[in-house]
Symmetry: C2
Amino acid sequence: MSAGPPLTHLLGGLPAAVPFVAPDAIERQTGRALRLRLGANESLFGPSPRALEAMRAALGRIAYYGDPESAALRAEIARIHGISPAQIVIGSGIDDLLGLVVRAFLEPGMAAVTSLGGYPTFNFHVLGFGGQLERVPYRDDANDLQALAEAARRASARVVYLANPDNPSGTWHTGSIVRAFIDRLPPDALLLLDEAYVEFAPPGTAPDIDPSDPRVLRVRTFSKVHGLAGARIGYGIGAAETIAAFDKIRHHFGVNAVAQAGALASLGDRVHVEQVVAAVAEGRADLERLARSLGFATLPSATNFVAIDVGGQPRARALLTALQERGVFVRMPGAPPLDRCIRVTVGPLRDRAEFAQIFQELVSAFSG
Amino acid sequence: MSAGPPLTHLLGGLPAAVPFVAPDAIERQTGRALRLRLGANESLFGPSPRALEAMRAALGRIAYYGDPESAALRAEIARIHGISPAQIVIGSGIDDLLGLVVRAFLEPGMAAVTSLGGYPTFNFHVLGFGGQLERVPYRDDANDLQALAEAARRASARVVYLANPDNPSGTWHTGSIVRAFIDRLPPDALLLLDEAYVEFAPPGTAPDIDPSDPRVLRVRTFSKVHGLAGARIGYGIGAAETIAAFDKIRHHFGVNAVAQAGALASLGDRVHVEQVVAAVAEGRADLERLARSLGFATLPSATNFVAIDVGGQPRARALLTALQERGVFVRMPGAPPLDRCIRVTVGPLRDRAEFAQIFQELVSAFSG
C-alpha cells in the first residue's frame, strides 16, 4: 500500500507529544486503580446538587442537539459580570478556548510568550498552529511579569499567556499588577488571561478590565470550583469583535447540552461555590501544616492545590513515583525552578488524612 | 481605545457565516417554541434506555476529567469493527472530526472537493483552515462520483468529502461503487467518508475498506441512530498513522465524560438500534405515501429523513416559511437541484400525524 495522502507540512513537522498523561492513562499503564486522585486539580468536593439535578433533567433531551450559541448560559454569565452576551464565548473547557485564541491571533511563524513550565496545553496549541514559543523562567516562583513583557516586545509576540492565579505554582499577582502588565505589552499582542482558579483567590486578584478592551481575552472554567471537569465547559470574555471573529472558525456544536445545563445551574448556586472555596482554604492550610511538619516549605497558593517544595527535582521525582506506586496521583511541575515541588490537589478531610499518612511514611523512608 | 491585536490574515479574510441556524436560534428569532423539530435529523425515537442509565451513573463522576483517550469506547468500537483501537479517533461529533481532518490534510491554499449543496460544516472548516472549495453539482439527486473524481484530479485536491448515504438528499451509492470511487481519486487525496446515516442504509452501503488504507478516513456519529445528538460524540476510523497524527493537534480533553459512557452503553444495545432502524423505515414509507397523496415525488432515502420534491425552489421556500410559522422546523437544501425539496426528519407516529395534518393544510392553501 502506498504512503497515502501527505499530512500538511506543519503537522508533518510536529513532535509526537500530548499535553498531559491523564490519570486514566496512568491507571491503564500501572494496571491499578488510583486510590487518591490529587494530580489534576479536580474539585474533590464535587458539583452543586443543583447542577446535578439540572444535568439529570437535561438527559431527557439528549437526543436533541444542544444550543450552539449557549444563549441561556451566556445570558447568565453576562448578567453576573454586567457585560453583554456578545462579549462571551463558550467552549468545551479552557483547552478549547486556548486553541481558538491561538488560531485566531497567532499568525503562523510568529511568537507567543508564556512562562517556562506553565500550562502545557497552551504550548501544544501554539506549536499545533505553527507559532513559535518564547518561554520566560519563573521568578520567585511567580510569573515574571517584567520579563514576560520584555520578551513579548523583543519577540513581537502576538499572544501572551498568563495564568493568574498560576498553575502549577499556585502563586498570584494582584489585579492591579496584572492591569499594569497589560499596558506594558506590545499593542498588537493579545493577553490570554487564564483565570481557571480565580474563584479561590483573594478579592482583588481578578483585574478590573473593560470587557470591550480588545487587548485581553480572559478565560474561566467550570472544571475547578464548580466541580464539572468531566462536562468540558468553560468561557471566555473579550471584546465583541473578538467573540464575533471566533464564530467564523469555532466548533459551533462542540459543547455538550448536559454541560450547558449543569454550568447554568451551578452559577445559580453561590452557596455551593462559597462552601467549596471555604473548604479548600481550610484544606490548603492543612496541607501546608503537613508539609511544615515534615520540614518542607510550600509555595503560597490562591488555588485548590499546594506546591510542596521537597528540596529538589530528584526527590520530587522519587516521591512522585513512590506516591504513584501507592496509588496516589500527584504531579511534578515540568521545569525548574518549580520541579523541586510536588503539586497536590486539596481534597476533603478524609482524602487529606489518607494522603498525610502515606506521604509521612514515604518521607520517613526517604530520610531513613 | 485602539483597534487592538490583529486577527490572523486568514481569519480576517473570512466571511461572517455560521454553518447552520440552529433550531434554538429559530425559537429565539420567532419567540415561539417549536412544535415539531423535524429539521436537524435528530433521532426522535430517543436514546437507548441503557445509554440513559449509563449517563445518569456517569454524572456521579462528573467532577473528574474524562478519559482523553476514550479507551473503553475505542476498545468496544474496535471489537465491533474487528480493528485496532489505534485505528480509531473519538471527537465531539463528526463536525469536530471534519475540522481535524481538514486541518491535518489540507495544506492552506490547496483544494478540497465536495458536492454543491452538501454538508455546510465541511465547507466551513475548509475555508476556516485556508483551503479552496471545489463544488460539484449533484447528478440525478445523488453525489456525482465521476465528476467528483475528475474535479479532484483537476484541482489536485487534498481532501474529498463524500457523505454516503448523502445529506441533504438521502440518496446513496452501494459500497462497491464507493470502493471504485476511491481508486479513481488522485493518490495524494484523502477521502473523508461521512457515514453519519449508514445504520439506516441497506446492507452493502458501507464499503469494505481495509482500515489500514491511508487514503480513507470514515466518520460515524452517535447523534443519529443512537439518539445522542446533545452529547456530542462521534468517531473516525483510519490508518493508525493518521490517527496518531491527530494526537499531535486534537483537543485531547474535548469529549464529555457522560457522552463517552452513553456512547459505550448504546453500542451494547443492538436491540434499540434495530428498533429505531425499523421504526424509521416504517416512518419513511409513511412520509413517502403522504407526499405521493399530495402529488409530490420523494427522493430515495437511506437515512432518517425524506426529501420531498415540492416542485421548485420558490414553493420549497414558501412551504418552509409557512411550516415555520406553524411551529414546524424542517430544512430546505441550500443549492440546486435539491432546493426544490424540503427535508423532513422521520419521527414517531404522533409526530408524523401532526406533520401530515399541517402539511396537507398548507399544500391545499397553496394550491387553492
